[in-house]
Symmetry: C2
Subunit: 207 residues, 2 copies
């Protein structure tokens, strides 16, 4: 078995959502597993001195258009949420809690549920009542999950994961590391596929 | 004949250089012409409140790696220049001078010559002596071109093109406008190809 792919995502990142819908299938086609990492894009932006693309007025209009177009291009349903972006630390803490207590598969199932709730139904995961509904729909005991939001241990767990991601060179999301090679952005999918196919020198046949 | 594709580039932009090597062939396959626009990325960044990716320390290392990898992926020769980035207003003024006095084809020929001189041979186009050599190699009368650098009329011509680009929503390079649809970045090539093939709704067959 070749090494797993590290996949970093944020619950409020449209390009992360799009990538979340293809990364497992692409990895599986090449006999790879995926290690999912929920991170806070705001923290990585801050570390790198970056801003969200929608914080730049000129770039904002283009970005909103490109989110929807890139989803269409990937064949992924997408409805831009009315409230965007939103804070996602509670959703991310639940991810790491599930990961550590119920296993990575349950954590990934929650990642899909949360991302789809936000990017296809506009469910604002920063709103506790909405997040509770999304958790229940995903079959998670909401009262247990809610205890996680404010528990210093789970806060610390997420903070540590963010720090580790930043130390690993992650400055945005989605971010992928394959065999030590970093790829930033949903739009690096063709390069990742070529890499996984063993065409690391990207000869012309991949184009 | 369907409308031409507008292609905005900067002589110091690696992703512009990579795109410059495929845009005409891709357009021609779909019966389209390309209208090339030399712009100054610095001016568009400033207008949008953006910085160069290599100005962010964490992003810089990744970006340098991605420039070379993306060139390899596109099958385009690339050697990262020792001096990078460099100012390109003189090269861009020559572009518009050729465009207006000798025709777009001569201007595009110079764009190719200048981009290749910088990104395959490290020729620093901001150095007047180096630029003179690149112009001569491209078959351009250097003394005439040099008069253009300091001529207020050609300075104004480039400024006007920058302003027009910014007004058209251009905030980076390469930037493409196809049938009114904006595409930013060399990595939008698959979407541009799908768009040109008439798959504007990007059905699954294009993946």
């Amino acid at each position: 078995m070749r090494p797993p792919i590290d996949f970093y995502f944020d619950f409020s990142s449209p390009y992360s959502y799009i990538a979340s819908e293809w990364i497992d299938a692409v990895a599986a086609r090449h006999g790879r597993m995926v290690r999912w990492h929920a991170v806070l894009l705001g923290a990585t932006f801050q570390a790198a001195g970056l801003k969200s693309p929608v914080d730049h007025p000129i770039k904002r209009e283009y970005s909103l258009r490109d989110f929807a177009r890139s989803a269409r291009f990937a064949g992924v349903p997408y409805t831009h949420p009315d409230r965007f972006p939103v804070t996602t630390q509670n959703a991310a803490r639940v991810f790491w809690w599930l990961n550590d207590t119920a296993g990575p598969e349950r954590a990934v199932a929650w990642a899909h549920a949360g991302l789809r709730a936000y990017f296809t139904q506009g469910q604002d995961l920063s709103d506790p009542a909405v997040l509770r509904g999304a958790l229940l729909t995903a079959g998670i005991v909401a009262s247990q999950a809610e205890a996680v939001y404010t528990d210093p241990a789970w806060k610390e767990r997420l903070r540590r994961e963010n720090d580790k991601a930043i130390a690993a060179g992650v400055f945005g999301a989605p971010f992928f590391v394959v065999d030590g090679e970093p790829f930033w952005g949903n739009d690096r999918r063709p390069q990742i596929e070529a890499w996984l196919a063993g065409q690391a020198d990207f000869d012309h046949t991949v184009l």
